[in-house]
Symmetry: D2
């Protein structure tokens, strides 16, 4: 399988990890999910992300899930694997394993203890050593990690780590940062890397206008990201916004921290993609009122999409 | 002027604090802004909130602004004043002053150092002493304060402070909390207080369905909150959602932490409400790309509202 | 091997994890270290604690280290194993493994994301399920975990988890908490559990007076904790303070967050206990000035202990 | 009165704010306290520091306290005034007032929201504008502020603000930082500023060896800091350590976050310096066990100092 590089674009769906009702890995649903994401136009998949319940898997389960997906995709799209964790030795071990198995690259978010610019740069130097040349995706997600990357720090890491090929950009707000990063590479001051955006896609059209290459996020309607990206790339900006606006009420609802993943899995189960919406603990449980909200939002979304044609 | 009580509802607009280009208090714009908010249907106003740049004013300026607005509104709507701050003595002093001047109540957010349930309850006991009987609004806004209130803690404070009459609810996510609070008062286990929601209104229709009495937030189109609340209260839920959806893309954009207030003041200046979009430092500065985004969002919003009729 | 229970007392040394110069597990030094700790009077050992560089080991290395120590101690003292981590599945797996191998119990610190009392109690409910009956040590160390346990929360967990047998108490300040916990069990309101104190022992005599049963910490002179505990237990309070005061300047120096572990390993290597002071990354590096400080402090400590006789 | 400059050294005592039993400012005790600090050898005083309960005073009380102390000291020693707070307008106002009244300089700690290097530097740029040329002390106290300054960031601020004349250094650990700052000025790469250390003085002898110019802290035995500094400055390093070690057990006890200030005021009241140990809320309350600890520690300290002669 080809390795991830700076030209990556489109939509890398952050895959959920399907479980059976009793909490075991559900590999049948995993197959269905992979097929679904690809049918909807995913240009890549990301496994073991935060929304993939990565820390809730044992080391062995993580390995099995990755292998299974790699087998199912069979090289059709690149697979990025999240290897973040509290220790570099475990990160090195998992990276080595999944790259051997055929992954296209690995993604690393910073530990929440990092504060100063030097601490962040120093940490990624150590990550660079640990992953030994594997293509790297830097995850910038301060809402969850509490680590704040300035554009300067990101560009410093880009310079120090030649294998850093992609930024998963989900700072909030993040538009000014995106503009600053693109200004630096446009001016030739820095290597241009791929930037895919997260945050459930709720700023996708504006981010594409600022130079994002697509999205890496897991909204239960991946066709939103794909269709918005395609329309935008085709220069049909108004169409991109029309589609985005139709999905925004539900995307906003799914993006709630905490219940968000339960909502996402509920919708994926409702769409027949996964057999069960089960999450491993700790997990939120949806109430009847939550589900009523979701039903209304889906009905309205369907109606609006029909209006748009 | 009547004091704030548990029956408060509708839309209390979080007022910005208008400054001239050189950063002085702009009392002419303040008059215009007050008139604008009332024309759009505000049922109350909140001064010196976080989005009112309260900490950037001197004690004297805070007093002057409140007096000026009280004079302009002349009792037409209740005025709530934010008195949060690092010390109880200053809080007591400001509360005493503004209540004497005719405010309807005061609002207090917790200091970010509070962690345990006991610390939070203990802090509001001290607040209760400091404000000496003034009607109190509890601001629950973890994204900014980093203090997390459980429903149990809020209900404990409701029980201990008879002058706590309103919750400014802006936890995110907050729907389950809202349901829990309303379930407690519906079951007669606790006094029912007014709950107005914040977060720029981006969950307003769902929150109204869960029992919120309205909104206390400052989106630059306060008619959104007013019209959604009116439609919802009239039982026209679909109409409420239609209106909400039309405003959501811009509301989402304005709700970005950091630049959000600059966006809000930019739009208010663009609408002719305030003379200048000036913020006091520290403050975000909008780029040309930000302003282009805003223009597109306003144009699309206007078009969509026209379609809805 | 006997399981850990509520009567545990004395000094459980938090063991370092010895590495060779190249960063491999050093099992020869591990043997020497185990013997050293036991000769100095340790009544138990704790492996894979924060100061045991637990997150820097792979799952396999963790298992090997524990097995090796269990073989060397051969049941002479109980072995507690730290199993904290971001996921419950991995915690369950490691617990199962080390308990099968003969550990006396496991220790769990909370993830730093926990804030409210309910979140903390809920987390330990899940831990209780994950470790399935293994004797549990609760680590209360807010300086590092940022999680604040009130006495009420600890007592709630004591009540809900019958296998919670020990508190590793290292809140700072923690004296009032210790008094509150002991008052509750003295009054018969709660089960009395073992409380061993941490923080490098820098409040040990005062904590013993408040009802601590000993220490669980890793100061490079474990004889300090043993001798202070013995003198105190024998009713010789002044002697306990004299000894404590002699070691305090160095204990204070070693307790510095960050370089503390490098200092500890440096001293253990200097004392001939471990072959190398090597830490795995991320790690602090001692300067010549640091080492000069340590030399002066050891020389002064030696002189003072001689004076005391 | 002369303004503070880079040559400042010795011991600037962080003054407590004396209150009567009912919580009013106690200006008689303030006089006695000022005299006491000067008799013990203070070379300066710092008012309205964190341990001076600054946020608990109204703006008017702050002004009155500063004026009163300035009158009592009558130019005998320089007075530094803490002006930290959430807003720059209030900071400017207080700075202007106290400098007019005769203060030697002002001290500013950063707001806890700052994270990145750029945010910190940007904040102090704004502080520089706000205080308009008044001599500035930068307070680096991450344990409380949660803001982490690297040496590089401090040196950047030194370069940008010519009126920055002193660092109140209380990072923990902070020895390596002190060495780095002194190495930079020794190598002529940066202006040398005064560095006074905090943290209750519990690393004072080591910090003096690294190039600190003295202490700015409020341990209830200021003679400790004065005598250790004098002995150290006279080249009598062992004597400095002997004195330090005698006071360390109590200094460590007083340095507990939370109850620390109650302990300090208790000891100052016990020494007859202030009439009442009263703190304003929020405040810790000492238990009988705490007071017994303090009595034992003072008795042992007195005995040990007698032995030392």
């Amino acid at each position: 399988m080809a390795l991830l590089n700076e030209t990556a674009n489109g939509v890398y769906v952050i895959a959920v990890t399907p479980f059976t009702e009793t909490g075991a890995l559900d590999l049948d649903s995993t197959d269905r999910m992979v097929d679904f994401y690809l049918e909807k136009g995913a240009t890549g998949l990301t496994l073991l992300g935060m929304m993939g319940e990565a820390p809730k898997l044992t080391a062995d389960e993580s390995r099995r899930l990755v292998r299974h997906v790699l087998k199912r995709t069979a090289g059709r799209v690149p697979i990025v694997v999240g290897v973040s964790g509290p220790g570099l030795a475990a990160m090195a071990e998992l990276t080595h394993a999944v790259m051997d198995d055929g992954a296209a690259g690995v993604m690393v978010a910073p530990p929440s203890s990092l504060r100063t610019d030097d601490q962040i740069v120093g940490y990624y130097d150590m990550v660079g050593e640990a992953i030994a040349g594997a293509p790297l995706v830097l995850q910038d997600f301060p809402l969850t990690t509490q680590v704040q990357f300035t554009p300067k720090v990101i560009l410093t890491i880009v310079e120090r780590l030649s294998n850093l090929v992609m930024l998963k950009h989900e700072d909030w707000p993040g538009l000014a940062k995106l503009s600053a990063l693109r200004a630096a590479s446009d001016a030739g001051k820095t290597r241009r890397i791929s930037i895919l955006v997260g945050n459930g896609g709720v700023f996708l059209p504006e981010e594409l206008s600022r130079g994002a290459d697509g999205a890496m996020t897991g909204f239960a309607y991946p066709e939103m990201m794909v269709d918005v990206w395609r329309a935008h790339t085709a220069g049909n900006i108004d169409r991109a916004h029309d589609l985005f606006d139709a999905y925004l009420p539900l995307a906003r609802y799914e993006q709630q921290p905490g219940p968000g993943l339960a909502i996402r899995k509920h919708v994926l189960a409702r769409r027949g993609v996964i057999a069960s919406a089960t999450l491993r603990k700790p997990s939120a449980v949806l109430s009847a009122a939550d589900i009523a909200d979701i039903e209304r939002l889906i009905a309205r979304q369907t109606r609006r999409l029909k209006e748009l044609g």
